[in-house]
Each structure stands twice: as structure tokens, then as C-alpha cells.
């Protein structure tokens, strides 16, 4: 049917209107989201800053003595534990995850790919408390037997649980990045006489490098923010983890263990908010870093 002139015009208007409205709708959604995020940052920050009315910045960041019941609010040990736990997790998870991603994307036959990808996606969705409970009931008794320690709780147990949790995330995103590398790169490399290993190590991985780094950072943010699983296996003692089996505390576990037992208007409460604010700041910096990497990547391509 040939649409009449008038009809076509109204269709055009309708489409324009719909575009406009959806544009406004999306803008409104974004503004609402920014507003909520801003409020969260503002209120946590505001409460957190009250900490420094009672104690000095140096006390909070440099002292190792976290005994709030005796008015000592030194978070240094807990911050260091958080960073070392994250580092330990990545050291364990990244080689395996990236290796697995290369296997799935490059080497494995199709039926293995089709099996592995849904399994990994499923693992991402397992609630962290399940990992924590498995850690508590299976991993810790095992570590206890292996090491001869009495408790087994500590950085190693937490890092193992976290590594298992972040592994599917890192693996799947890296897998996507590797699969996105254009076929022509590989073909060119083969044409120059490269072996399969050379193609993978010298061409595919460097080309997918930014994607893999973004995957690692995604895993890292999950590892830093993870709470429930960590609480169950880390031992929750506010002290510096000198060995892999020293019961310790990280920012998330310390907050969740103490927040419900603390009076509202106390320095202790403010100090816990300061810890939350620190976590927020760390995540924020990491996300900015991802954005920065992403932009650089798109400039090149």
C-alpha cells in the first residue's frame, strides 16, 4: 500500500516524538541514578568525616591498634590486610582464569566451549554465602590437616575462596576479549610462519590485553567488596596478618562484624563509616582506571 503524504508525515512525527520522549526518559534515569549515587557518597562521606573530630588522620591510617572498645581506632592493619588479600587472590586466580579463557577461546573444540561457557556463567551467579559455607566446612578442615595449624582461618583460606569466586568472572570477560580479536591478525601471523603458540602469546594476548586487564580489575573489585564469604573464613581478629594462617580482618568483614553492635553516635560508628568510604574510594579509583583503559583501547582500534 502506498502511504499518503499526510500519513507519512504523521508517522515521521510519531517517530520523532518517540525518540524525544525516550531520550528524556533515559536522561531522567541517568540523573536519578547519579542523584542516588551522589547521596550515598555524600552521606557515607559526611558520617565518615566525623571520625576525625575525635581522632587524627594519622591515628586512623597509621596506627595498627584497632580496639574500639578502648578508644583505639587504628585501621592500618586492616587496610594492609585488605590489599594483601586482594593481591593474593589475584595471584592465584589470574593465571588460571586467563589460561582457561585462552583454552576456551582458542584451543578447545566446540563442544567443550559450549559446555564450559554456561558452567562459568552459572558459577558467577552462585551466592557468596554458599562459597563461604563451603570454605568453612570443607576448605578449612583441609587446610588445618595440611598445615598442622589449630584454626586454619586466615588470608590463605580467604584468598582461596575469593579466587574461586572471581575466577569465572575474569575468565568469561577475558574469553570475550580474546574472541573479539579479529581473525585477520591471526591469519597474518600464520602467513608469516608463526607457530600456534607464537600466535597466541605474541599476537592474540597482546591484542586482547586491555580486555583482559579490564577483566582482572572487575575480578579485583569483586574480591575487595566481597563480605559474606570472607567473614566466614578469615578469623575476624583485628591484627596484621603476619602469616597466611593468622586470623585477621579486612575492611568488609570488620564492618559487617561490628556495625550492628555499635552505638549510633559514637566514634566507633564513624570509624566504620570511614572504612566503608575507603572501600568506596578504592572501587571508584579502579573503575576510573577501567574507563581510562577502555578509552585508550578504542583510540587505537
Amino acid at each position: 500500500m502506498q502511504p499518503s503524504r499526510k500519513n507519512r508525515f504523521s508517522r515521521y512525527m510519531r517517530a520523532r516524538l518517540a525518540n524525544r520522549l525516550s531520550a528524556y526518559y533515559f536522561l531522567l534515569s541517568i540523573l536519578a541514578l547519579c542523584f542516588v549515587l551522589g547521596l550515598v557518597i555524600f552521606f557515607i562521606g559526611k558520617t565518615a568525616m566525623l571520625t576525625f573530630k575525635h581522632i587524627s588522620l594519622a591515628d586512623f591510617f597509621l596506627s595498627f591498634n584497632w580496639t574500639p572498645e578502648e578508644d583505639h581506632y587504628g585501621a592500618a592493619a586492616i587496610i594492609i590486610n585488605t590489599l594483601s588479600l586482594t593481591a593474593l587472590t589475584l595471584i592465584m586466580a589470574v593465571p588460571i582464569a586467563v589460561g582457561l579463557a585462552i583454552l576456551i577461546a582458542e584451543i578447545a573444540p566446540k563442544w567443550i566451549k559450549n559446555m564450559m561457557r554456561p558452567i562459568l556463567d552459572l558459577l558467577v551467579g552462585v551466592p557468596s554465602i554458599v562459597y563461604g559455607y563451603l570454605g568453612l566446612t570443607v576448605l578449612i578442615p583441609f587446610l588445618r590437616r595440611l598445615s598442622g595449624e589449630n584454626l586454619g582461618d586466615g588470608l590463605l583460606a580467604a584468598a582461596l575462596v575469593l579466587a574461586l569466586m572471581v575466577l569465572p568472572t575474569i575468565c568469561r570477560i577475558s574469553d570475550e576479549a580474546i574472541s573479539m580479536v579479529p581473525k585477520k591478525y591471526r591469519e597474518a601471523a600464520y602467513a608469516l610462519g608463526s607457530t600456534r603458540l607464537q600466535v597466541m602469546l605474541r599476537v592474540v594476548i597482546p591484542a586482547a590485553g586491555r580486555g583482559i586487564i579490564a577483566a582482572i580489575i572487575m575480578g579485583m573489585t569483586r574480591a575487595i567488596g566481597e563480605t559474606m564469604a570472607v567473614v566466614m573464613v578469615i578469623g575476624n581478629t583485628a591484627q596484621l596478618a603476619k602469616t597466611l594462617f593468622t586470623p585477621a580482618s579486612v575492611l568488609t568483614s570488620n564492618i559487617v562484624m561490628q556495625i550492628s553492635n555499635v552505638e549510633f553516635d559514637s566514634t566507633w560508628n564513624y570509624a566504620l563509616h570511614m572504612m566503608a568510604f575507603l572501600l568506596l574510594a578504592i572501587s571508584f579509583i579502579l573503575i576510573l582506571f577501567i574507563r581510562y583503559l577502555g578509552r585508550k583501547g578504542s583510540d587505537k582500534a
Binding site: 584454626l151 555499635v262 552505638e263
Partner: protein
């Protein structure tokens, strides 16, 4: 099909009968209002059960109950968020670590017994106040010093501010310290975690509400007295505490009626006992 029809008809008929019955009962009570209860998780099962029964008697009263931790009870009352703050200790007086909440009245509602528990591999069956003090202050670190095997003692404790910990420290340790140790020391977040941790960690010692104790762990005697409900009532077992409903000033209206109901002989001797708490009237 016929049977199904009959059954559903019967069900509908009984539903009507029950509603009219409840309606006629409630006609007797004109009490109305809204009561918010917040605080101790240990007292939460008791509050929920009491709320269910009380609302049946007074359908115009709405009761909302939640549990988060003992200290949140009196705090919520102080801030006006809750009418009743459930707390494992008397928050109207100072206790170690927590200042008194001024202007609040503590209403006793139950007796909560606590027990020292150890992993099943531990041979020790009795501990004295002095021995417990030694263990928790870090002076005694090996089970052989208190008559057990030659093995390190693994101390598992609740986080500071837990009602169980406040009471245990006051009654079992006679006010003694619980000190953080470098190794063989662990903090857990809840009674459930405590039981799992002690049950799965060899040579572990911990403490918990008596109602949580089952065959997974071994409850040890305190100064030679077994931790049983009978021993709490006859006064020989000392590790117990009253559970309190904190209110801002003397309770009034529906709040008062609810607290009265919880304190009534009917509830204390009935549902409260079934939940394995001890009636307050049992303590002299």
C-alpha cells in the same frame, strides 16, 4: 471430584466459623495501636511467638518485630524508632563497654541461660571460673593445664557488643577480660556461626545460649555444675541473665498490655517454656 468439592466446602465452612469465632473473641478487646520491637536476636523467637498470640487476642494491635543485636534495642528506643528494645542485659544501668541509657525502664521478660561449649574431641568436662578466666585472658593456652590432652586451646568468641558476650563475661568470667591473641583466636558473628565453628574446630572452646546446644558440641560444667534448665532454676548454675524489654519511661497503652502479656503466667508457663527459655517467676 466429588470428594474434592466436599472437602473444599467443609474448609470454607470452617473458615467462616473460625473467623466469626475470632471476631466474637476480639469484640471483647478494644485495645488498638502499633508496637515496634527491635533488638536482640536471642529474644526474637520469643517476641514473634508472643506477638502472634497477642494479636489473636487484640486484632486491632499491629506488632512489628525485628532483631539485629542487643545494643540496637535500647538505641532504637532512644531514637524513637521502636517502642520496645529487646536487650540481653539491663541497658538502664552501666555494663562494661556500654553506658546506661538514661530514662529507659527495663522490663524483665525471660531468663536466658548460657553455656560454655567445647569441641567433642576435648576431654575436659568441667571448668572453674579461674580456669575460664585464664583461658580467655590468654594465661592458659594448653588443654593439659586444665586436665585435658596436650593440645593448644582454640578460643572462639563473639564480637564485642554481643549480648551473649556481655553476659558471659559478667557471669562466667566474673568480669574478666577476653583478649585478642595472635593465633588460635577467632571471632564469629552469630550464635549459629559459633556453634558451627566450635563443632568443626578441634580443641575449640566457645559460649552460646543454652537453647542452641545440641549433640554437635559438648557443653561443659561450670564450677562442677551441669548447664541444665533445672540447675539454673535451683540456683546452682550461675551463667544466666534476664532478657529485657527496654521502654522509654514506664510503658503505656498497647505497649504495656503487650509486655504484661509476655510477663503473664499463661505465656511464661506456656509458649515461653516451649521455646526453652525459663520463666522469670522461676528465679528467686
Amino acid at each position: 471430584m466429588k470428594i474434592f468439592k466436599k472437602v473444599s466446602l467443609l474448609a470454607a465452612a470452617s473458615l467462616v466459623a473460625v473467623t466469626t469465632l475470632v471476631g466474637s473473641v476480639s469484640a471483647a478487646s478494644n485495645l488498638s495501636g502499633k508496637i515496634t520491637v527491635n533488638g536482640s536476636t536471642a529474644l526474637l523467637p520469643l517476641t514473634l511467638q508472643a506477638a502472634k498470640e497477642f494479636q489473636k487476642l487484640n486484632p486491632k494491635v499491629k506488632i512489628a518485630a525485628s532483631g539485629k543485636g542487643s545494643v540496637t534495642g535500647p538505641q532504637a528506643v532512644k531514637k524513637g524508632i521502636a517502642d520496645i528494645g529487646a536487650c540481653d542485659w539491663d541497658a538502664s544501668v552501666d555494663v562494661p563497654g556500654f553506658k546506661a541509657f538514661d530514662g529507659q525502664v527495663a522490663n524483665k521478660v525471660a531468663v536466658i541461660p548460657f553455656a560454655t561449649i567445647v569441641n567433642k574431641n576435648v576431654k575436659v568436662g568441667n571448668l572453674t571460673t579461674e580456669q575460664l578466666k585464664g583461658i580467655y585472658s590468654g594465661k592458659i593456652t594448653n588443654w593439659k593445664e586444665v586436665g585435658g590432652d596436650n593440645a593448644d586451646i582454640v578460643v572462639i568468641t563473639r564480637a564485642f557488643g554481643s549480648g551473649t558476650r556481655v553476659n558471659y563475661q559478667a557471669k562466667a568470667l566474673a568480669g574478666g577480660d577476653i583478649v585478642k591473641k595472635d593465633k588460635n583466636y577467632k571471632e564469629v558473628g552469630s550464635s549459629g556461626d559459633m556453634k558451627t565453628a566450635v563443632a568443626t574446630t578441634p580443641n575449640a572452646i566457645g559460649y552460646i545460649d543454652l537453647v542452641y546446644v545440641n549433640s554437635d558440641v559438648k557443653a561443659v560444667s561450670f564450677n562442677g555444675v551441669e548447664p541444665t534448665t533445672e540447675n539454673v532454676i535451683n540456683g546452682s548454675y550461675k551463667i544466666w541473665a534476664y532478657g529485657y524489654y527496654m521502654t522509654k519511661g514506664q510503658p503505656t497503652g498497647a505497649t504495656k498490655a503487650f509486655i504484661d502479656y509476655v510477663q503473664s503466667q499463661k505465656f511464661q508457663q506456656g509458649s515461653l517454656k516451649k521455646l526453652k527459655f525459663i520463666p522469670i517467676s522461676a528465679m528467686k
